[in-house]
């Protein structure tokens, strides 16, 4: 085939797909393996409130994964998400750049965070959990709360969105496991210190890895402090249809997608949560290994993604 025809074909395909897809306006790394995306999704941007999430699918053989919306701009018509590359799909996502597109984005899903003037609210974000907690911190601040944010990471590099969260907080405490930044220790150490120091805490929001959320729940339980966690269950549709995201709340099954994602931390059965999230560990490892062995063929499936090599050939 002549190169011109190839290019024309490409362009036609590109334009056809474009109207049906979700364009990435901006993509930049915040930390190693942690990337921020602004994605064109005007209806979602208009509607979303703090605590809600989207489900996205990168290409037509991809899985559907839920990701919390970190921010949105109704006027620009885009939403912001922060993705930590852990499995195949998140790593694939993190190899996309500004100008690429995502095949499917649907939302906003889930119930918004319950926001009112509680008094003093402590917002705890572990690692990329900070990005999920951020919009609720902003909403809590706007509702009149005194917001104390605790940001935790394994090391300095993994503390993300610090500036944004500082702007929405009255006080920020940073903790790192290795002491490379802020206080050395866990977010729960900082929380315990606040409690022991006599700070009257009315509300705690904790978002991060399951062990962290469980530890926060156990820290606040003896003091009867209202504590909320955001549960990142495995989902397919996100509309209550499959029931795969069910979590055990006071021994009763609820769906994280429509009844949550936020739940009273003191009522969550974290063992069930941990087990269910480990259900596909074997397949997840297999998929990741395959992707890491040959990321290019996977990227070629992303609609509208233009391989640098192809560009070079067309120009040549």
């Amino acid at each position: 085939m002549c190169p011109a025809a190839g290019l024309w074909c490409h362009l036609a395909h590109f334009l056809l797909q474009r109207s049906l897809m979700y364009l990435i306006h901006e993509a930049r790394f915040l930390a190693p393996d942690v990337k921020l995306f602004r994605i064109e999704a005007p209806r979602v941007a208009r509607k979303r409130r703090a605590g809600q999430f989207v489900i996205l699918r990168v290409h037509d053989q991809g899985e559907r994964i839920p990701i919390t919306i970190a921010d949105s701009d109704a006027e620009r018509g885009d939403i912001t998400i922060v993705v930590q590359g852990i499995g195949k799909t998140t790593k694939l996502l993190n190899s996309l750049e500004t100008g690429d597109s995502i095949l499917d984005v649907v939302g906003p899903l889930g119930k918004p965070s319950e926001v009112e003037d509680f008094g003093t609210a402590v917002v705890i974000g572990g690692g990329v959990g900070a990005a999920i907690a951020y919009p609720t911190a902003v909403a809590l601040k706007n509702a009149g709360n005194r917001v104390i944010s605790i940001l935790g990471g394994r090391n300095r590099e993994l503390v993300v969105l610090e500036d944004e969260i500082r702007a929405a907080s009255d006080e920020v405490i940073v903790t790192t496991d290795d002491g490379s930044y802020g206080q050395k220790g866990l977010v729960t150490d900082a929380l315990q210190k606040l409690i022991d120091g006599g700070v009257k805490i009315d509300y705690v929001l904790a978002i991060g890895p399951i062990p962290m959320m469980r530890a926060v729940a156990e820290t606040t339980r003896p003091h009867g402090i209202r504590t909320v966690v955001s549960l990142n269950s495995i989902m397919i549709d996100g509309t209550g249809m499959c029931g795969g995201c069910r979590v055990s709340i006071d021994g009763k099954s609820e769906f994280a997608c429509v009844d949550g994602p936020e739940f009273d931390a003191h009522r969550v059965d974290f063992d069930v949560m941990r087990n269910r999230n480990a259900m596909y560990r074997g397949q997840e490892t297999e998929a990741l290994d395959r992707f890491m062995a040959d990321p290019e063929s996977e990227l070629a499936r992303v609609p509208g993604h233009r391989c640098r090599l192809e560009d070079a050939e067309v120009e040549g």
């Binding site: 979602v44 939302g107 209550g240 029931g243 795969g244 397949q283």
Partner: protein, 489 residues
């Protein structure tokens, strides 16, 4: 007038033509279609069996009133394109209904031939025409009325919504279908398995609807992305048809239901059908690796049958269907029960699980079940299953699929305060006009009646389309005299 060369008294001597099937031993391990479709010669022979009744009762037996006699006559004249167009006047999803309709209870159940002989194989002929379109690349599209300038939104893209959209677009309205998932078809794509209804076939019927002028928008969750009020006020829709189905899975509420390996039928089927998990790792969405495992489905309906036959195709070594009543009460289609048995599914009737058992890592290891016996008839008219004291026993299992029914998805209702629902959360709609408590909003299909069949939902779609057309033409919105659901409460 008639294209039938054979005299009526000779027609009854021709036996009903059989549907070629994939061999059970082979098909139990693949996702290809079980029924293979009639070849042209058999279809022509079958068509000659039609008695061409003056009053064709077959059409009355059809919930959407397909003009059977007319399309069969066009098959006889070998004008398949015209036959397809004739069919599409009443049924925009012929490739689908030709496969999944319970014809034995409807058109074929009414066929006069069936009184003394085997009924005309109307379903097979319908499928034949749709398959001919696909093979020839020709499409028989019905004419479209001039544009009315009215905008109609269908919420959901299952059989009710698609049927309504097809009818409304023919009447000249500007129709948009909104779907929450990334794929059009609702239960046709997430629920019904590939081996009964290949997804390419759904896509084909949907593409033909696009050619008729219907617009489709995926990834829109009405109730979340947009509300009904926003559709009317901001997006300018003059009428809305809510057909969101009965998509919420019911669980048994017994201990152990959150163990890994316990699925709702909706999840199990969605992973395999919508997300193509059976092709993992080429497709990303995983499913429990059923190879050489023991899988049980709880329930006796078509969804239970679809689920367990899917597990078999995923490589399960042993498959059980556990149903609490006797086989006589099983709601699944006879043909599908027969297919499942042929493929090796063991049916355990009068049995019910009381607890799912697991290991310390949270994985399912088995079920504790009890035997049941049948007592007095219940509200449904079927004999109520009663537990037999002390009959507990354990079955070792790796996967359990729960297929004991579904409920209404509340997302539309909870964000549309003036839309009346009954105590179970289904939308209240007038039985004949499908008009709801909210002006301009119609509802039909499973979201009104509770879970039923594809063709009944299509019937509701037709009724809704007629009622919407009437409303858009006259502008009159009569309040429903009596909401349809209230009486049964």
């Amino acid at each position: 007038m008639s294209n039938n060369p054979i005299k009526p008294k000779d027609r009854v001597k021709i036996p009903r033509q059989g549907m070629p099937e994939q061999d059970p031993a082979r098909r139990a391990h693949n996702f290809e279609e079980v029924n293979l479709g009639l070849p042209e010669e058999l279809a022509k022979t079958e068509a000659t069996r039609c008695l061409e009744c003056k009053k064709p009762v077959c059409a009355h037996g059809c919930p959407v009133g397909v003009k059977v006699r007319e399309f069969v006559d066009l098959v006889l004249s070998q004008d398949y394109r015209a036959a397809a167009a004739k069919m599409r006047e009443d049924n925009v999803l012929p490739a689908i209904t030709g496969r999944v309709c319970p014809q034995e209870d409807q058109c074929e159940g009414s066929c006069v031939l069936g009184k003394k002989f085997e009924p005309l194989a109307i379903g097979y002929l319908e499928r034949f025409i749709a398959d001919w379109e696909a093979e020839s690349g020709e499409v028989g599209l019905p004419p479209r009325a001039p544009a009315t300038g009215k905008k109609v939104a269908c919420v959901g893209s299952g059989p009710a919504a698609l049927t309504a959209a097809g009818d409304l677009v023919q009447k000249g309205h500007d129709v948009t279908v909104f779907e929450a998932l990334h794929e059009i078809g609702g239960v046709l794509v997430y629920g019904i398995p590939e081996f009964r209804l290949p997804k390419d076939i759904v896509r084909r019927d949907v593409d033909n609807m696009r050619k008729m002028g219907v617009k489709f928008e995926t990834n829109v969750v009405v109730g979340q992305t947009l509300t009904i009020d926003e559709l009317m006020n901001d997006e300018g829709f003059d009428a809305i048809f809510v057909a969101t189905g009965a998509g919420l899975p019911r669980f048994l509420r017994i201990p152990g239901e959150n163990l890994n390996g316990v699925y709702s039928a909706n999840e199990f089927l969605s992973r395999v059908n919508l997300m193509k998990a059976y092709r993992f790792p080429d497709y990303d969405q995983p499913i429990y690796d059923c190879r050489d495992k023991t899988v049980a489905v709880i329930g006796g309906g078509n969804t239970a049958l679809d689920s367990i036959r899917t597990a078999l195709r995923l490589g399960a070594k042993k498959t059980f269907m556990i149903y609490r009543r006797s086989e006589k009460e099983m709601p699944g289609r006879a043909e599908e029960i027969h297919h499942a048995r042929d493929e090796g599914v063991e049916i355990q009737t009068l049995t019910h699980p009381v607890e799912f058992l697991g290991n310390d890592k949270g994985w399912l290891t088995g079920a504790r079940c009890i035997r049941m016996e049948l007592g007095e008839p219940d509200d449904s008219g079927r004999r109520r299953p009663v537990p037999v004291e002390g009959s507990d026993f354990e079955i070792p299992l790796d996967v359990v699929i729960i297929a004991v029914g579904t409920g209404p998805n509340p997302l539309v209702q909870s964000t549309t305060p003036d839309l009346a629902t009954n105590k179970w959360g289904y939308i209240e709609a007038n039985e004949t006009s499908l008009r709801t408590s909210k002006k301009g909003v119609f509802a039909g299909g499973d979201i009104v009646t509770g879970a039923a069949t594809v063709i009944l939902a299509m019937g509701a779609g037709r009724t809704a389309a007629a009622s919407i057309h009437e409303y858009l033409t006259t502008g009159v919105w009569e309040l429903p005299e009596k909401p349809a659901q209230e009486a049964s409460a």
